[in-house]
Amino acid sequence: MSYGSTVVLDGVDLEIPRGQVVALLGPNGAGKTTTVEILEGFRRPSDGEVEVLGVDPAHAPEEWRSRVGVVLQSWRDHGTWRVSDLLQVMGSYYVAYGTREVPRPWDTAELLDRVGLADHAGQRIDRLSGGQRRRLDVAVGLVGRPELLFLDEPTTGLDPAGRRDVHDLVADLADLDTTILLTTHDLGEAEKVADRLLILAGGRIVADGSPDELRLQLSRSSEVRLRDLTTGEVSVHAEPDPTAYLTDVLHRRRGEVQVLEVRAASLEDVYLDIVRRAEAGEDLSALTSLEAMTR
């Protein structure tokens, strides 16, 4: 796609087509926030090259800022302002970047309606619930109609209702033609809102694909258990291609196999294993793919 946003990360080229919702998933401490901060231009990478929308974010001109929206997890600012105040003031910085096709900023009433805060326009910001506050932050991120929106841990610290609020909102934004990169440590959340998952572990991307693709990829590395009819002995095999293996073994050992069990490695198991190992302080830098986890 000609509008594609190119993100270079750890030597890996990530071509993210415009409009895609991508989740950067990984255990705490995997480097998600660091990665996003580098992409947002808020932190300089110690080494290497980064390009977002064709520009190095650390030295990006202010014009680049008008094409990128940022939503952070810990904003508590402007508590005494009204909801519409913040959108109007922040929006007014984008006036010079409007075009005939894309008027900027986004009209406040329309945007509030879009994020489900239409009834709260006149409310003090510090009186919003956690989920509403996050909706407002997303609205501020969107007020300049960015091509790319960063959402850092959008649901951290929210109660279940607030989380659902944010999930619904992100799903709602899918038709915006805005590329969204969000970070989370929750696989369920990533699957719910994203078209594509990037799993970050040990400073490297170990998996990249839609949830279905990743499942399929893992199902090929399954665990096969066979119980011998005569000895009662159980043998376990990790198999990249269980169908071929079973065809072969059942053919060769006809009548010898008593019990047969094939277990596909699940994305959940593999991800939880990554999280567990990361939390135990294990060095995951040798990890290159999800399949490697299952062996």
């Binding site: 202010e62 014009e63 105040d85 007014s92 984008y94 010079a96």
Partner: protein, 281 residues
């Protein structure tokens, strides 16, 4: 429809931001707290109005009033600007400004517009009150009123950038609290409320080494014409010193602020949030 240029957009945005900041600040109980100090000062002035100072040249009420105006400017710059910078760094205001195009420039422009008004807010009720309590303290001609306004703006310009520098340099809340106490201690010995000459020479020189003393001297010069305050230099010297402080300050502050802004990141804000949750400040 033509699109407005970038500079005019930033200027309009900053004006709008300043307007909203002021409207929201002075419509909350916390903002109204700014009116508390002038009331206290007026009560003090009421009690000392008949006490004479400087061999009967001036009533203590007049001296304290001039000192209060000077102190008000210092408080607005130090407590106001540097305190706000501390909060804005922690709650993400600065980062939000960084995330919008030219947001940081707009944020600084907003500060330039808001701070003089912040300094003016507690002064207005004090001026009105003093005019009623101390006959003859207020300027009698339009020219002197203008002079008072000019001195006010000059002192704000001399102090505000240094408030911004203090707010950027001292990062932790604890050190910052100590710095504030230091400034207040300095204010006590800077001649706002009693003449410098009653102090030991060392303190006298210390007071003259900061803008604080000169701010007080400038207000005394406008408000107490014809009164000789021992140790106060000629008005020209006072105004030149203040001008020098503002020029140097306005040159240094943007550099320091830019450096601080560059270090702002989401994780810094998140760390501050953690700290507030754990320690309460």
């Amino acid at each position: 429809m033509s699109t407005p240029s970038v500079p005019s957009t930033v200027l309009r945005a900053a004006l709008r931001q300043a307007r909203t900041t002021l409207a929201r600040k002075y419509s909350t109980p916390a903002g109204l707290g700014n009116f508390f100090v002038p009331v206290v000062i007026l009560i003090v002035i009421w009690f000392v109005r008949d006490v004479e100072m400087l061999d009967g040249q001036v009533g203590a009420g007049g001296y304290v009033f001039a000192g209060f105006l000077g102190f008000g400017v210092v408080a607005a710059a130090v407590m106001g600007v540097s305190g706000e910078l501390q909060t804005e760094r922690d709650d993400g205001t600065l980062l939000r400004a960084k995330a919008v195009p030219h947001g940081m420039t707009g944020h600084l422009l907003t500060k330039l517009l808001v701070t003089p008004l912040d300094a003016l807010v507690p002064i207005v009720p004090a001026v009105v009150g003093a005019a009623l309590l101390i006959p003859g303290i207020m300027p009698s001609s339009l020219g002197r009123w203008l002079l008072l306004l000019l001195v006010f703006l000059l002192t704000v310009a001399a102090m505000m950038p240094w408030g911004a520098v203090l707010g950027s340099v001292f990062r932790s809340m604890m050190t910052f609290a100590w710095v504030m106490m230091g400034i207040y201690a300095l204010a006590v010995v800077s001649g706002f409320f009693f003449p410098l000459t009653v102090l030991p020479t060392v303190l006298e020189w210390l007071a003259r080494a900061t803008p604080l003393y000169w701010i007080g001297a400038a207000f005394r010069w406008v408000l107490l014409p014809g009164v000789e305050v021992a140790g106060d230099p000629p008005a020209v010297v006072t105004l030149l010193v203040l001008l020098a402080w503002s020029v140097v300050g306005l040159a240094v502050a943007p550099v320091v602020l830019r450096r601080m802004a560059r270090r702002q990141s989401g994780s810094a804000v998140a760390a501050a949030r953690e700290r507030v949750l754990n320690r309460g400040y």
